[in-house]
Structures are given as C-alpha cells and as structure tokens.
Amino acid sequence: MTEAAQETKTTSEDWEPKIVAFCCNWCSYAGADLAGTSRIQYPPNARIIRVNCTGRIDPEFILAALDMGADGVLVSGCHPGDCHYTSGNLKMRARWALIKRAVEQAGIDPRRIRLQWASASEAQIFADGVTLLTEQVRKLGPLRGQWR
C-alpha cells in the first residue's frame, strides 16, 4: 500500500509522531544542548540517543527503529570535515544512500528519515531539523500498519 493512500485516514487527534534521533556526542548532541541553553523551542517529539559518532550508527538501528514503530528517524552529526574522529560522518554519509534505498524497498516513504549536519554551535539548525522532520512525518501520518 502506498503512503499517499494512507494519508487521508491517518491524522487522528491524539496521535503524535514518535521520532528517534541519533546524535553524535561532539557536534549535534552539543548543538541540542545549546538549543536548550538558548531556550530555542521546538516540538517535543524526538528522543535523542547519544552515540559517539554518526559512524557508529549501523543501518540496522534505523531499520529496527522503524520496525518497532518509530514514525521517523533523525541522524544528526558533525559537518563533513569536522568529525571528531576524522571521518566517521563521511562513513555515515556513504551509508545513507543505502539506508534510503532499504527504507524505500520496505515501502516506507524516505521522507521519514533525515540526515543532517549540525555543529555544536548550530542550535537553531538542530532545532529546525527536528521541527522539519516532525512536521514532515506529521503530514505522512503514523507508520504503524502501513508497513508489512
């Protein structure tokens, strides 16, 4: 079943998108910290899981999250060239095309997953990324029941 067909019957009143956000410790997690310190307000839908580096993120984690019922997955890391571990984020970037294809092949709209770069000072960019994905996923509706 396509997502477009689903869209009409999804938006029930009490449903809120559930988003899993994998953030690297050195840039994006710190960027999220700064968003808090700066009191930047953004939707409370994302739950951050801290990893040392986006290079640590096995494509399996993203697929598992969607499988277990996440409506969207955010991966946020250091800008290319800024990786605390030299090049882990480049590995993530290289994997991303593969992850996207796997998600599509599973019949999931790839707009449910998002890869972004947000440095430790880019609180607004981090918050904007969460907002954007949340709103995008909200439009797509809940994933549960659309898959499998």
């Binding site: 840039c27 700066s38 800024d82 440095s119 430790a120 000072s121 880019e122 607004q124």
Partner: protein, 437 residues
Amino acid sequence: MVDTNNDALKSILVVGGGVAGMQAALDAANQGYRVYLVEKNPSIGGRMAALDKTFPTLDCSACILTPRLSEVARHPNIELLTYSEVEHVQGTLGDMRVRVRRKARFVDETKCSGCGDCARECPVEVPNEFDEGLGFRKAIYVMFPQSTPNVYTIDSSACIRCKRCVRVCERGAIDLDMQDSTVELHVGVIILSTGYRLFDVRKYPRYGYGRYPNVITAMEFERLINAAGPTNGHLIRLTDGAVPKRIAFIQCVGARDVKKGVPNCSRVCCMYGVKNAVMAREHDPDAEVSVYYADIRAFGKGFEEFYEMARSRFGVNFVKGRVGEIIEDPETQNLRFEVEDTLSGRILNVEHDLVVLCPGLQPADDLHRLAEMLGLRTSEDGYVEIRDALTAPLETDHPGVLVCGCADGPKDIPDSVTAGSAAAMRATILLSSGGAK
C-alpha cells in the same frame, strides 16, 4: 642560589587565560607542576570565545574551545583565579612572591550552579561588552554560555542592589556584601600570556567609525554573525536592520603604520578578513563582498589555499589599494569612498551598505603595568622584548619571567598555542634544574 626544598620550585603562575595561557597551564600541569592561572575577566577563554568561525577551516570557535575550557577547569593541578589581577611581584627565578587581588564577584563560586535564575530576575540591562556593546546583558551575568567557571558575576557598577537575585537564588549563592580579597602565591616562574586589544579604529577619523553606524569593526562583525550573538547570527545593518548586499572589508586599520605607533604587521587581520568575507558570502550568497588590502599575508598552514578558495570558490572580490575618506549618504546611510585599485591604476568610486574595518592588534592594557613591575623591556609598540629570537624566544630580561601568545607580539591561534606549550617547557626546565640553567 635557590633553595631546592622550596615549594615555589613546583609552582608556576600563568597570567592570562586565553588560548596561550590555557595551553601553558595545561602543559605545565600535565608535567606535575602546580599552576595558578590568573584571569582578569570572570571567565577564561580569552578572545577566541568571542569569535564565530576560525580560519582556515571555518571551525566553529566556541565548539573547539569549550572542551579546552573544561579541561583546564577540571585539571587537578590547575587552580583558576578568575576575575583576579596580579598586584605585586617580588623575587626572582625559583622564588617569587605574588600578590593577587581577587575582585568581589558577589556570587559564591562554590555555591553557584550557573542556572541563570538570577539573571532572568535582574531588572538592570547594560550593553554587553562581550558582544562589543551590540547586545545587552544583565547586571548579574556570565560572559558567554560556556563561561568557565560557570558562575555568575555581579557587575557592581551596574547593580542597583534591589536584591531580587538574592531572593530568587535557590542556593543562597549571592552575597552582596562580598569584598575584594587578596591571595599570596609563592611561585618559581611567571608566564605572561596577556593577549591583545584591538586597535582603536577611531584614530582613523576618515573611516567614520563612531559617526556612521554602518561602519563597524571586525569584532562587531564576528558577534553579528555568531549564532550566540546579539542578533542570533543574523547579519544586519545596525541602522535599519536590512540585510547588507554590498559589504566592504578594509584591511590594515592600525597596522603597518609607523605614524600611528603600530609599525608592524598584526599577522592575523588578513586571514580573519578573508574568513569574514567568506562568511559574509556564506550568509548571503547574493551579497557582493570586497576586501581592500595592501598585501594579502596568507602565510600560515593552509592559509594561501584558503585565500585562493575565497577568491575562486566564494567569489570574494579582492582590491589592492588604500581607501580614502568614507562619506555616508545621509538618506540611505550607505557609504561611499574612493580607492585606487593599484593593480589597474584606476580610481574606483564605490558604494557599500556595510563597511567592516579590520583593526590590527596592540598589547593588552595590563601589559605595560606588568612589564614595569617586573622590569621587562618593551618595544616602542608596547610588546615585551624577548631575549633572542633563535636561542631564547620565550625568555625575557627577568630570569623568572617567560612570555607567550601575544605578550611579545601579535600571533594567530596556532602560533599562540604553540608558544604556550613552549613556555611551559622552558618553565619546567628552569624549575627542574633548580633554577640553575
């Protein structure tokens, strides 16, 4: 002759908590020496904390600096004395008595958790010097979000003693009756890393700074493009809030000018100018950005490559030539000036809606006083004279006093950090050989 059982032989005083001083402190402390790091501001971090991005990698300045701040704060061998000043020094290598005045910050450092309740409650707003006066802070404040120690300070000249902060502080950390205090330190070596101040661009009246609000300094530009700055990183004109579309950077304002008492090159302005020009293009790819320069001195690692990238990839326009008098259009508050493009020989008549002056560096205000107190020779432009550029590049006329960072001349961040490490090495050698060498 030095007493080898002396505690001072295990202790080093570092004056100035910028990147050079922090590095000197860390590299000495990591060798097992006790380090007192005295900083006149409420937080360590120095000038780098206020910068937005750094050349030539465009790294975010605060992001790379913050771990260094906490490393210093956590180090068991480093004692931070912030908001403090060296008042008096007596003695020589291996045996120096130092009196440090700890200014009252009216907040108990051991109790404050940095929650900021007090600042939210404080009714007094004053221009924030950390934002070059472009934004505001409260009378009780931290300098910047990652201030280290993360402790609030009351600016007594602004405080109206309404005690609202006292009432709201859940930890009872605020003490409005706090007095300045002094501590006596016994150290073997003193490392000066007092940093720099920026040249006062008002000394060039023809550029109109202070009269024309759309003529700003590079440091003001840094704060304007900084996400944690007064405009949350929006580059706007101060007159009308408009996004500037034609931006000029003018180099060598208070550098390489014998008449203004700044005969030397300041070493960093070319590159921070190029970096800011790149950032201006990054903020608004439609903006026309021009740099007016005498020579582009892109001499450090990766600098020439960065300059080339600014020209070719970012499309920054470089014009070799001295800028004449700047005239403000009273209606648009745009700025016009003539400049001879010395490469083409043509006189250009240009108009910009924002002009950024790139000032050179001068020794920090404190350096003169410290140098006099310690009997150090200074050059005509105010920097400490080193003993020999090749054989004693960190040593001064005082056998127990070393210099690093910008205390002996302008330096960029990597050169300052390197000099900080080197000063730590020289200091520990002096002390490990009992002051004999």
